[in-house]
């Protein structure tokens, strides 16, 4: 009799437990809206940080535009716009994703929206083909060719741009721009003419460039090329033989492979590290073999008109007047 009562009690407790679970009286995991409520959300290291709808920044997109903020940008053609482009820019440690939304264009009529992974100006591209993992044609993503398959395009560096052509008035499209953290930035265009930056290539066989589209005075404060840690810095001719070195380039284009070398740093450097470079584009480029962790730190500031004039007068050569 007691055994029966005991087994009955156990069964009763088990039944009550099951009913409680099904009813939901047990603890539940609160959705704190940071991680997506998906089956494999735990494996996704990127937290959901979507801006709430009411706080999303919105404004019209202009035919020539530059966007440095997240948000939604809508272009509506008031008349045919055959030649338009918008630049996107983020912080050095960020990459940009561009999402096509509410696209109403006539692809068959010749309209297109093309996102480019980088910047293109006067036939020159940044990053250059040498420094970018993708071939040129893969860096262009045309909505009309792949819109249904790729609604979102992510850049490899902190800059991207979009070209678009609209033939019919009233056609419209929206681009949603978001920024994502890039823990190991490689190719960067500086947002400002002044600042400081440390470029690190952690044992990767790649070349990285930091581009400053202003005439600047640059001061390389520290660089270490893995096996030459803490050695005094000295520039020597023939750095190209070394697999790891830092180049200082200058010129009037954005393609780093077409800029002229000002100096190379590969072993060590003694003496002044300040250089005034009067070029439209100054680039610090690091070539890395992948064997070491290479690091270079530098700061830069804008040259004023007086300094530019002085540099120009003091130099005979036509090349960007570096001092």
């Amino acid at each position: 009799m007691r055994v029966m009562e005991r087994s009955f009690r156990e069964q009763l407790f088990f039944l009550v437990l099951c009913l409680s679970v099904l009813k939901g009286d047990s603890r539940y995991i609160e959705n704190n809206e940071i991680s997506k409520d998906e089956l494999y959300s735990f494996f996704n290291s990127e937290l959901k940080r979507e801006i709430p709808e009411e706080l999303m920044y919105r404004r019209p997109l202009r035919c020539l535009d530059m966007v440095a903020v997240e948000g939604q940008f809508t272009f509506t053609a008031e008349h045919p716009q055959l030649s338009c482009a918008a630049f996107f820019m983020a912080e050095p440690t960020e990459v940009i994703s561009v999402e096509f939304d509410n696209v109403d264009i006539d692809c068959q009529g010749g309209d297109f929206i093309t996102v480019f992974d980088g910047w293109v100006m006067k036939g020159e591209k940044f990053p250059s083909s040498q420094d970018h993992p993708l071939p040129v044609y893969e860096r262009y993503v045309d909505y009309c060719d792949s819109g249904s398959l790729r609604r979102s395009v992510r850049s490899s560096q902190n800059v991207a741009m979009v070209f678009f052509r609209i033939h019919n008035a009233g056609s419209t499209f929206t681009l949603t721009v978001r920024k994502h953290i890039n823990p190991f930035p490689c190719n960067v265009i500086s947002q400002s003419p002044e600042g400081s930056y440390t470029m690190v290539i952690p044992q990767q066989h790649r070349n990285c460039s930091f581009s400053i589209i202003y005439p600047v005075e640059i001061d390389i404060s520290e660089f270490s090329l893995g096996h030459y840690n803490n050695f005094p810095k000295r520039s020597m001719p023939g750095c190209a033989e070394s697999g790891d070195f830092v180049q200082l380039l200058g010129g009037n284009g954005i393609d780093t492979s077409k800029l002229l070398p000002i100096t190379d740093l590969c072993i060590s450097f003694t003496g002044p590290t300040h250089m005034k470079i009067g070029c439209d584009n100054t680039v610090v480029r690091m070539v890395s073999s992948g064997k070491f962790v290479n690091r270079v730190s530098f700061s830069y500031r804008l040259l004023d008109s007086q300094e530019l004039q002085t540099i120009k007068l003091n130099n005979v050569e036509d090349f960007c007047f570096n001092n």
Binding site: L64, M66, V69, F87, C107, G110, M121, K122, G123, C144
Partner: protein, 149 residues
Amino acid sequence: MKLNVLLWVVALLALLLPRSADCRPSIAPTAHHLLPQPLLLRLGEEFSLRLGGAGLSSSSSSSSSSSAVNRALLQLTQRLLQAQAEQQQQQEEEEGEGEGEEKGKRSEEPPISLDLTFHLLREVLEMARAEQIAQQADSNRRMMDTFGK
């Protein structure tokens, strides 16, 4: 039995596999016509007008000087675009003759490009930075308003 299974598999494959001819987008000829030609833009004209009349606080204070700058920029950009157009026409004539040899070289040329001076690029960059600062300030204000409630 096996023959039936094989026939079913073949039929399913025939239905599910895409037909390459049908799936080729109809705009491809147009796109191929568009893509190899650099895209020449009337940016100087458009941008200069917008810079002077877009109502931006940074440019409204010096309208007379900025209009002169805009005219200069407009002329410069139009000349650049014209030179680029002439160069492109010459290139197309040359490319028609030696297309096979230069195909490898041309594949590295960006199919769409933008003729913009560094000066204009810096101008739009500064506008974008001003917008970023203003938007950040607005976002901070909203956050402070929310925290204060």
